[in-house]
C-alpha cells in the first residue's frame, strides 16, 4: 500500500516544485534555443523569452528596467532603448545557442559601457545576458505567481 504524504507548508511545496522542474528542464544560466519547432529562446529552467509575461519577469530579476527609480530621465530613455533592442533580438531566428547568446551579450555589453549609464553599478556590472541561481529561483517564483497558466500560448 502506498502512503501519500501531504505537504502542508506552502514554502516547502514551492521549493519542491522548483526542484522538480529544475530536474526535468535542466538549469541553464545562459540563453538557449529550446527543443520546440520552431525553437524559442529560453533561459533558466525553460523560461520562454518569446512570451511577453515571462520575459518581463526575467528582465525584472536581471534589473533591466527602464522605470527603475534610480535612473535619471536620460538614463531611463537609454535603458528603454536597450530593452527594445533585446526584445527585437529575442524575436529573431538563430542557428544555435551560441549565436543567440552572442546577440544578447552584444547588447548587454553596449549597455554596460554606455557613458550615460556609467554611474549605475547594477548596469555596469552586468555585461552578459545570464541568470544566476538566485535570479532563476526569483524569476520562477514571479512567473508562477503572475503569469504561468496551464493553457497559455507563446506570444
Amino acid at each position: 500500500m502506498m502512503n501519500w504524504r501531504t505537504i502542508t507548508d506552502p514554502a516547502i511545496y514551492r521549493q519542491q516544485r522548483f526542484d522538480e522542474i529544475s530536474l526535468l528542464e535542466g538549469v541553464r544560466q545562459f540563453a538557449y534555443l529550446d527543443t520546440a519547432r520552431p525553437s524559442r529562446p529560453s533561459i533558466g529552467i525553460g523560461f520562454n523569452l518569446k512570451d511577453s509575461g515571462v520575459r518581463t519577469q526575467v528582465f525584472e530579476v536581471m534589473q533591466i528596467n527602464a522605470q527603475d527609480p534610480r535612473l535619471s530621465p536620460a538614463q531611463q530613455a537609454s535603458e528603454q532603448g536597450y530593452i527594445n533592442q533585446l526584445v527585437v533580438a529575442l524575436s529573431l531566428t538563430y542557428l544555435n545557442d551560441a549565436a543567440l547568446q552572442l546577440a544578447l551579450n552584444n547588447i548587454m555589453i553596449q549597455r554596460s559601457i554606455d557613458p550615460i549609464l556609467a554611474n549605475q553599478a547594477h548596469i555596469t556590472g552586468r555585461s552578459s545576458f545570464d541568470l544566476q541561481p538566485t535570479d532563476i529561483q526569483t524569476a520562477y517564483n514571479n512567473i508562477i505567481l503572475t503569469f504561468c497558466s496551464p493553457n497559455r500560448r507563446s506570444s
Binding site: S52, V61, R70, N84, T134, L145, F147, S149, R152
Partner: protein, 245 residues
Amino acid sequence: MKTMKRGSGVLLGLLWVLIADVATAGNYTLVVGKGIEVCQAYLRNLHSFPMHPPVVCERPLNPKLSAFSRPKWKPLEFWPNRHLLRQALRQRPSNLQYSDEEYEKLEPYDKWESNIRERMKERNMTLATAELDVDQDGKKDIVLRFDTGWPCDPMDEGNFAIPGGIELYVLTPDGRGIDGKSTYATLPVRAGRPDVVGYKGKWYVTTWAGDMNFTEAQLDIITVESVPRQRCQFKYTGQAQRRHP
C-alpha cells in the same frame, strides 16, 4: 483661403489623433478563468471602456460594477520614509547573498541617497500605504505602494511591452520596514505595473505584459494570498498601429 486650408489641416490632424486612439483601443478576451466570477466580472469591466486606450498604465473600474473596489491608499511622506526603498532594494533576493558590509560597497548608502534626492527634483515619486490581508490569515497587513513618477504612456511601444513604475511591498507589522519574505511570496513586486483591485472583499493584483508591435498583450489578475491562488488571464488584441512620440 489660407486660413481655411490651415483649419482643414488642423481638423485632419485631430481626426487622425482620434482614429489612432480608437484603433488602439483593441479587444479583450478571457483566456484563463472562464466561469470564475471575478474573471467574468473584470471582462465586463474591460468591455465597458471601448474607447479607453489599452490598460497598460491605468486600469479603470466602472462605477456601475459596484462589486469592484480600490484599497484606501493613505499617502506616506516620501523623504522621511525613503529608508523603506533602500530596504526594498536590499531585500531583493539576489542581494541577500551579500553581507551588509558587502552590500554597502556595492550600493553605498550616501550615493544611493543623493541619487534619490536628484530624482525627486525630476519627478513626483510618491509612497502610500493600505491595509490589506495579503496572506489571508485574518489579520490586515500593511502594503506599501511606490509610484516612481514614471510618465507611463500606453501609446509608447516600450511602455506597452514592459510597463513599470509602480512597486508593491508588504511592510513589517510595525510599518517600519519591508517584510521581504511576505512581499516576494504574495505580490508581483514591480514588473507589469501592478495594480491592486478589490472584488467582493478579496484583493487581487493586475499586471500587464505586451509585445513590441502593439498587437498582443496579456492582462493577468491574481488573488494576493498565496494558497489557493485564483487567476484570470485576458488576451488583448490591438491594431498594428503606433503613434511615434
